[in-house]
């Protein structure tokens, strides 16, 4: 049914989009290219490094020799470790708690359910600034959690979006499955673990990847909570590289950025299906 003119215009659009995509991706190309440049070439403005080198990556892990006697250590492995610890613990904790709450909302009738659900939905609309200052005070002065993993992990339990997403999904799981298990003597936790969790796996996957991106890329909260360099996460670590050193460390910074970004992009690509489902679920809820 496609006409000759139609096919021609599809070619034209394809070519146009490909050219556009190259321009669009240029900052990424620049990041990668800069990370493979030597110091001499950093400021040359060339897109392809003339003498590709891994010196910037080497410095991230083994220090940066400045002049004769000064060796600058970046603690980059610490940043990476901290980001992984915070992200993985957040994911495990939040997914478990979200799933349990969603299970209650989707499969139980209890007094106050409607009201509680609406209260939860309203919390989704609260911007971070509405709570930032007292939260900072609470975590630093009252709880004394400055420079701790807890401070970065625990606030994540208030995840209305996740509970909402999982509740919508769990509602589609037939209740008969639960009734059958109940007759066999299974309690709520057993039903949750043996029936609800396995059947909710697609929704859990979607939520996991969203949460992962959110925690991995979080900037404001770690910025106010973490002072100690050994406790920096990747985002504030990379941001502080320039501020703290008082010198331009672009090459190292771009190497750090590549290592922090590329695994994430690959992961999202690998989980593209789950990701897209979550994205569109959000769009049609509105």
């Amino acid at each position: 049914m496609v006409t000759r003119r139609g096919r021609l215009s599809i070619y034209a659009i394809s070519v146009f989009l490909c050219i556009l995509a190259v321009f669009y991706a240029f900052p990424y190309l620049w990041m990668i290219s800069t990370s493979f440049k030597t110091d001499d070439e950093l400021y040359s403005g060339s897109v392809i490094p003339q003498n590709p080198s891994v010196i910037q990556y080497y410095r991230l892990f083994f220090g940066h020799q400045v002049g004769e006697e000064y060796n600058l250590q970046y603690r980059y492995p610490d940043y990476y470790k901290n980001s992984i610890i915070v992200t993985v613990s957040s994911l495990v904790l939040v997914l478990t708690l979200d799933a349990l709450a969603a299970f209650a909302f989707a499969k139980y009738n209890f007094f106050g359910k409607q009201v509680l659900f609406w209260i939860m939905m309203i919390t989704m609309m609260l911007p971070v600034y509405a709570t930032l200052i007292p939260s900072f005070y609470l975590f630093s002065r009252i709880l004394g959690w400055v420079n701790s993993y807890k401070a970065l992990i625990i606030p994540g339990v208030v995840d209305a979006y996740g509970i909402f997403l999982l509740t919508q999904y769990m509602k589609t799981i037939p209740s008969e499955l639960m009734d059958a298990a109940r007759i066999d003597g299974a309690g709520p936790l057993r039903i949750f673990w043996n029936i609800i969790v396995p059947l909710s796996r697609p929704a859990l996957g979607t939520l996991a990847i969203f949460k992962f991106l959110l925690v991995w890329n979080d900037y404001l909260w770690p910025l106010v909570m973490i002072r100690e360099e050994t406790m920096y996460t990747l985002t504030i670590g990379i941001a502080q590289m320039q501020m703290r050193q008082g010198m331009v460390v672009w090459g190292v910074q771009m190497a750090a950025s590549v290592l922090a970004t590329v695994p994430v992009i690959l992961l999202v690509l690998a989980m593209q299906k789950q990701f897209l489902r979550g994205l569109t679920a959000g769009a049609f809820k509105a």
């Binding site: 215009s9 659009i13 394809s14 989009l17 995509a21 669009y24 991706a25 900052p27 620049w30 400021y43 040359s44 403005g45 897109v47 708690l97 979200d98 349990l100 209650a104 909302f105 139980y108 209890f110 509680l116 939860m120 919390t123 609260l126 911007p127 600034y129 509405a130 709570t131 930032l132 200052i133 007292p134 939260s135 005070y137 609470l138 339990v157 208030v158 309690g187 709520p188 890329n217 900037y219 404001l220 106010v224 985002t235 941001a239 672009w250 910074q253 771009m254 950025s257 922090a260 970004t261 992009i265 999202v268 593209q272 897209l276 569109t280 959000g282 769009a283 049609f284 809820k285 509105a286």
Partner: protein, 304 residues
Amino acid sequence: MLLNVEARERWGRVWEKLAPYVFISPFFLGFAAFQLFPISFSVYLGFAEWNPYVRQGTGLSFVGLQHFVQLFADARFLNSLKVTGIITVVCTLVGTALAVGLAVLLDKVPEKLSMILRALFFMPSVTSVVVITYIWKQILSEKYGYLNALLENLGLERHNWLGSPSTALWALIVMLIWSGLGWDALIIMSGLRSIPEELYDAAKIDGAGSWEEFWYVTLPLLRPVLLFVVTTGIIYLLGLFAPVQLLTGGGPLHRTETVALYLYHQAFDYQEFGYASAIAVTLTLIMFVASFLNYRFFGGEVEY
């Protein structure tokens, strides 16, 4: 033995009733501790002076509306409102228009190519703001940036993009539009795909050209998706913080200082927690009003 079984059964029934409350309690405990308390305290702080570092007492003193009166006479705050407003309006209008265009084009090319391109355009959405901002900062840097090197090669003059008051805000806006484009386009595309094919067939029979088709079929039916994209975008832009703090730090001459950045300076640089809370309360109200207006403007059911 018999008693034991009975007791267990009774416990089972109680547990069955209790379980949902236990399951939702972590959220609501967290909500009380990390949201309800901070928000109430935030609102109160907006009407108080607070020195949290005093040895004795709370360091709190009630000052009534003083902060809010001060706020609307504070040139730096009014300037931050203007900056935030410009960023929000320009990025929303231009960004959404570009995203609709991109989505329509991506929808026309063969699926395999479209998939690759989508992944490419989507990269900034999964990249840390810190990384994105530093790449742009480098490209735009006056002495060593790629853009200026390119301009010089073309025989044009170098320009201090981030350091001069006339261009810093626009550099920021370009970066923001760039980084949000893929996300918006992808969501809009999922909206495009949900429009029933028959409507296009019907339009063709009525003799509609592709432009009319877009204007009278596609765009009206995209309204719910556009509502989502625009609302979430506006909320994000009104609270814009990290990209500004990292790219320009609010400078030069506060030309790029957003409300959220000003709030951050007041709270964490000047320790003016009361005043900063008044800004936070105002910002939150602005966000609510913006969402509401948006809903009124775009909302409502779609009619086929």
